[in-house]
C-alpha cells in the first residue's frame, strides 16, 4: 500500500507505518510526535490534498 501511494505521488515523508502494542504508550507518543513534525515540515502552501469546490446537496 505504501508503495502504491508513493507511486501515485504522495510524499514518502507523509507515510508512516509502525507496530505499536497497546502497552507501549510512550512509543505511541514518540511516533505520533515524530510523524506530525515530519509532515508539518513538508506542508506546502498548495493544498493539493484538499477539495476546493463547495459541497452541493
Amino acid at each position: 500500500m505504501k508503495n502504491l501511494l508513493e507511486h501515485m505521488g504522495i510524499d514518502p515523508g507523509r507515510l508512516h507505518f509502525s507496530w505499536i502494542s497497546s502497552a507501549e504508550s510512550t512509543k505511541f507518543v514518540d511516533v505520533a510526535k515524530k510523524v506530525t513534525e515530519e509532515a508539518a515540515a513538508l506542508a506546502s502552501k498548495e493544498k493539493k490534498y484538499m477539495k476546493t469546490k463547495p459541497k452541493v446537496a
Binding site: M1, K2, N3, L4, L5, E6, H7, M8, G9, I10, D11, P12, H16, F17, S18, W19, K48, Y49, M50, K51, T52, K53
Partner: protein
C-alpha cells in the same frame, strides 16, 4: 480467425447438445466496431452468433461469479487466470465450469486505432494469418501491422495460452519471455520520477475521469455486492470529480486488485475517456512479483499473497 470462430461454435453446440453445460458464455459481434459483446448461449440456435477476432478484449470471467448453473466459457489466457482467481475465492466451483481455452495472440487497442485515423471507424478486419488489421470508414481505409496496434497489456503478455481449460480449440501459441519484452518499462519510468513529478503525472492521467465506474464494472475482480464508492452509510469517498475524490477511487480500486489482477486490460479497454488505469494496477503486479514471487491466477491451489501470512513476508515499510 474464422477457424477459431468455427471451433468455438462447434464446441459450444456439442456441449449444449450433450447437456454438459446449461449455457455457454462467449463473444458476439458488438453493435459498434471494435467492441464485441459478451453473450450467453442457452440453446443451440444461439451458438451461431459466437465470433472470435481481435476485438474480444472484455474479460468473460466477469460473468460467472455467483452463478449456480453449469457454464461453458470461452477463455483466453487472461480469462482463464481470472477464472482461477474466482475458483480460489469461492466465487464459482471448478466442476461447474467447462473452460473452452483459446490461445490468444493479443487484442486490438481500440483507443489507439481511433486516434490513428481521421474519421469514424466503421469496420475493422483482420487477415486470416493474423498479420494485418485493416480499418475503414467513410472515405478512408488504412492497413496496420497487427503487432503494432495491440493493447499494451497484450503486447506485454506472458500468458497467452489458457492456464486451466477442459478443451483447447487450437495449438498453443508461442509465449513471450522477459528477454523479449520489458513488461514493467512503463512502471519503471514512473518510479524514476520525483514525488512532485509523480503527483503531476497522475493528476494529468486522472484529470479526464468522469467517475462512470466502467473500469470497475468491466473488472472481473470487482464483484463486491456493494462497492465502497456506492456505499452511503458510511460514505467512504466523495462523489465529485475533483482530483482528491478521483484519486481515492482509483487508488483504492487498484489496491483491492493487488495480487489478484491478471493485467487483462478490461479496465483500460472499457474506459470511455481513455485513461490508462493500468498505470496503477501494473505497479501492484510488479510489487507482488518482486516481494512475493507471485503472479495471479496461475494455480488454484494457493491463496493470494495478501490473503496469507508467512513469517518471511517483507516488512521493510514498518518503522
Amino acid at each position: 480467425m474464422t477457424s477459431y470462430t468455427d471451433k468455438i461454435r462447434e464446441a459450444s453446440k456439442r456441449l449444449l447438445k450433450e447437456g454438459t453445460v446449461d449455457m455457454v458464455i462467449g463473444f458476439a459481434k458488438g453493435s459498434v466496431p471494435m467492441m464485441n459483446q459478451p453473450m450467453h448461449a442457452v440453446n443451440q440456435g444461439d451458438v451461431d452468433r459466437f465470433v472470435w477476432d481481435g476485438n474480444c478484449g472484455i474479460n468473460l470471467a466477469n460473468y460467472v461469479t455467483g452463478r449456480t448453473e453449469r457454464i461453458g466459457i470461452v477463455a483466453k489466457g487472461c480469462d482463464s487466470r481470472n477464472l482461477a482467481v474466482h475458483i480460489v475465492e469461492n466465487k464459482i466451483k471448478r466442476d461447474q465450469l467447462y473452460i473452452i481455452g483459446v490461445p490468444c495472440t493479443g487484442m486490438i487497442d481500440r483507443h489507439r486505432l481511433t486516434a490513428a485515423v481521421n474519421g469514424e471507424i466503421e469496420s475493422v478486419t483482420e487477415d486470416e494469418a493474423g498479420k494485418t488489421v485493416t480499418v475503414s470508414g467513410d472515405g478512408f481505409s488504412e492497413t496496420f501491422n497487427r503487432p503494432e496496434v495491440l493493447q499494451e497489456n497484450c503486447a506485454l503478455c506472458m500468458h497467452r495460452n489458457p492456464v486451466i481449460y477442459d478443451e483447447r480449440i487450437a495449438d498453443e501459441v508461442p509465449e513471450q519471455s522477459d528477454e523479449d519484452v520489458d513488461r514493467y518499462a512503463a512502471v519503471k519510468q514512473i518510479e524514476a520520477m520525483s514525488p512532485e513529478e509523480k503527483w503531476a503525472y497522475f493528476d494529468d492521467l486522472l484529470s479526464d475521469c468522469i467517475r462512470c465506474y466502467a473500469c470497475r464494472n468491466a473488472c472481473p475482480l470487482c464483484y463486491c455486492p456493494t462497492c465502497f464508492v456506492d456505499e452511503s452509510k458510511p460514505q467512504w469517498v466523495g462523489k465529485s470529480t475533483e482530483i482528491p475524490d478521483v484519486r481515492i477511487f482509483h487508488f483504492l480500486r487498484a489496491y483491492h486488485c493487488a495480487g489478484r489482477c491478471t493485467d487483462c486490460g478490461a479496465c483500460v479497454r472499457s474506459c470511455p475517456v481513455g485513461i490508462n488505469v493500468r498505470a496503477m494496477t501494473k505497479k501492484l503486479e510488479k510489487d507482488c512479483l518482486e516481494y512475493f514471487g507471485w503472479e495471479a491466477g496461475l494455480t488454484t491451489d494457493q491463496r493470494p499473497p495478501l490473503d496469507t501470512y508467512k513469517p518471511d513476508d517483507p516488512e521493510q515499510f514498518i518503522k
